[in-house]
Subunit: 439 residues, 2 copies
């Protein structure tokens, strides 16, 4: 039996062993999705804390059902380790590591590189390797493949198979989780694609095959570039609308009445999370290698870079109407999570507005029920204050930066002296009155 | 009975007389929609040819059912005239004139101005006036209102009512026509809004009221700015994808499998029609008055300005692969309409590519079953050639610029020496082969 047929058989009878590298927002839900279907999964993770949590059945990712994780660990379908030599037990290895940008917006490929070295040094012939981390088109072919071949001495397409299948995790999305979000699959060659479809088909309800890894890489970038550009556009229009005394939120709701050709995006203090602020810049990076300037992404990037500064100005404008300078005023920010009802402050736009205000000598406080403390880009640790009437009425300005549904808006607005509403949570105000100012 | 109650009563019992100024793509379908409901409509039009056509029941707009027009004219619910003194017979006047940009992308308000002068000089007290033409926010309030008041000696809100209600006509859309596309309505004050809702409610199935004319003006601009920005984005990404040997059409289809947060736009030789290439620049114009730069619209504009040049380069690239220069080659363009299956070449991107190629000394021909002749920006008249095997095989290059569904793609590709496909009509080709090159 050929290696290819052998692996397909193992997938078919659930005897395949899947390795998942990186047990974060992407890797752990995927590991649980496979384990739930009775497939043995070994999770590889650097953080001993996460390993201990997983191995004792304790969940640390919002989108996972606690009991499901506990059950698959108890039933020994899922275990976690930092020992990469266990990669040789795996028939398939899926990489779910982060791909951050460095301070100069250049992709930091070190996590993928390190994962490829670990896999290359440990995998057995006949292994299927898939990358899920968002990255620039050509990564799988021109970055991963050479490392895997060099470290393993094996040949792609003969001794192992290679695939790119981008994660589409949307933290906090109530409708679409790992298992029911259609998944793009782009492997090299027919054999690899057949294995990829069979394997992912075990855990994911709907797969969408494309012709190559680079097409799959481009799909993910297109999705997030679309979001970046449209959020940037609406942020820019919101600033203009404010100047023109137009309520941009009303305008967006009205535009949504068009039954075709429009999708609503909403303004806010900036763009956060792991995907939208980063992914498009991978593409911009590789485009430069093709002597090509992506002017839309560049423009969107500029708008976002300026947003915290503009939001600080908005707060200063509101304070000024109350006859107060930024200097010495106490400003209470409500929400540092990058979107509502999640506990993730990565690339938090609120944090950047807070930094800007502090630089202008405001006394800055924050409250976020999901994030008791957070470290900003400069390494400074912020600790949340409790949200009580005394703190609200003590602040010169209260700023809504995240629309957490647990906030009691009416009470907060009642107790506050001044409110800047960047998320349209105060519905009864048109654009501004003496107390509430909208973005 | 107050004037306001009187007008509401006339609307209620269908004795209201509606004037529609401008019987083009927007005005004529609207006039027919009212007339169909048994309301008397007087159409005001400068072109004697259009007046004669309407008054003999002959249709010249694709989205209108011929028989419906013929019937309402025969039943004397609709007539057309150039005599603006008949405005005094009307209880409501709706302006549906064009708002083009001049050569320097400055809004040409002369049609609206002229309509307002005609209305102001002729309307009786108690008239309802509504503008449907897309324009920059503040137009109704700061441009129209002063002209109407000055010319009529009447006062807005007391002697007449004023409204902005943007047209959402999408030529060729099979599902959404004038009557079943939800309509934004933004009038000054409660009385005017009540009249506007009652009147439009006679002809349009679903209305969406907003708080002011300027909010309504912004809605239309947001919708079309969204489209401009996204088409520009996908055009730019398509050019990069081509360089990276990625089929952008495959990528878009795959991205569409994401069940939330994505809307597909498709690349092409540029942006045409009356709305998308123009509307966002109205906003850019007024933004400058607020000391505000709209960088996204500006960037989108740059991409589009460059598209014809880049498309000419694409043709040159394909010809070069066949060892031919642009100079002296015969290039046959298929489709000058700005979108499929319509007869409208306004702002035609194909025409601009044709001009660029002719400037590089190619022999340029075109065929479009819906547009037998067309005049370009330089005043040059182009006449369509017939589409037969001889002409196809005579051309050094055949270029698909509009995806008219009547084109027999297979036959054309078979007979052609070389094909440049800017609309993804040749489905069996991945990115390029020696005969077919995709955008």
């Amino acid at each position: 039996m050929s290696r290819h047929a052998e692996l397909l058989k193992k997938i078919d009878d659930n005897s395949v062993i899947v390795g998942v590298i990186g047990l974060g927002y992407v890797g752990l839900p995927l590991a649980v999705a496979f384990a739930k279907k009775g497939i043995k999964v070994i999770g590889f993770e650097k953080s001993q804390k996460k390993i201990d949590l997983v191995n004792t059945g304790k969940n640390y990712i919002g989108d996972i059902v606690d009991e499901e994780l506990a059950r698959v660990v108890k039933d020994q379908y899922l275990s976690a380790t930092s020992d990469v030599s266990s990669i040789r037990e795996c028939d398939a290895v899926i990489i779910c590591v982060p791909t951050p940008l460095d301070r100069f917006k250049k992709p930091d490929m070190s996590y993928i590189e390190s994962a490829c070295i670990d896999i290359g040094r440990n995998m057995k012939p006949g292994t299927f390797v898939s990358l899920e981390s968002t990255t620039y088109p050509t990564t799988t072919e021109e970055f991963m493949k050479p490392i895997l071949e060099r470290e393993s001495g094996l040949k792609e397409g003969e001794d192992f198979w290679l695939c790119f299948s981008p994660e589409r995790v949307d933290p906090g999305n109530k409708d679409y989780k790992t298992e029911n979000t259609p998944k793009i699959v782009g492997a090299f060659g027919e054999e690899a694609q057949e294995i990829a479809m069979a394997l992912y088909g075990k855990a994911i309800q709907k797969l969408y095959p494309v012709s190559s890894p680079r097409a799959a890489e481009m799909v993910k970038i297109l999705e997030n570039t679309y979001r970046l550009v449209n959020i940037s556009l609406i942020n820019e229009l919101a600033l203009l609308a404010g100047k023109m005394q137009i309520n941009i939120w009303e305008v967006i709701e009205a535009a949504k009445s068009k039954p075709y050709g429009f999708q609503a995006f909403y303004p806010g203090p900036g763009i956060g999370g792991h995907c939208i602020p980063l992914d498009p810049f991978y593409l911009e990076y590789i485009a430069k290698g093709f002597n090509f300037d992506l002017t839309m992404i560049d423009t969107a990037g500029r708008i976002n870079t300026l947003m915290p500064h503009r939001m600080m100005n908005k707060i200063a404008y509101a304070l000024n109407r109350h006859g107060k300078p930024m200097n010495g005023s106490t400003i209470l920010f409500l929400g540092v999570a990058y979107k509502a009802d999640i506990d993730d402050a990565r690339e938090s736009p609120a944090l950047r507005v807070m930094e800007e205000c502090e630089r202008k000598r405001a006394k800055v406080l924050y409250h976020d029920p999901y994030i008791p403390e957070v470290i900003d880009d400069n390494g400074k640790k912020w600790v949340a204050v409790p949200l009580n009437d005394e703190i609200i009425s003590h602040a010169d300005c209260v700023v809504f930066t995240t629309a957490h549904s647990c906030f009691d808006i009416e009470r907060i607005v009642k107790k506050a002296h001044l409110v800047v509403d960047m998320k349209n949570v105060v519905k009864h105000i048109h654009i501004e009155n003496e107390k509430v100012f909208k973005l």
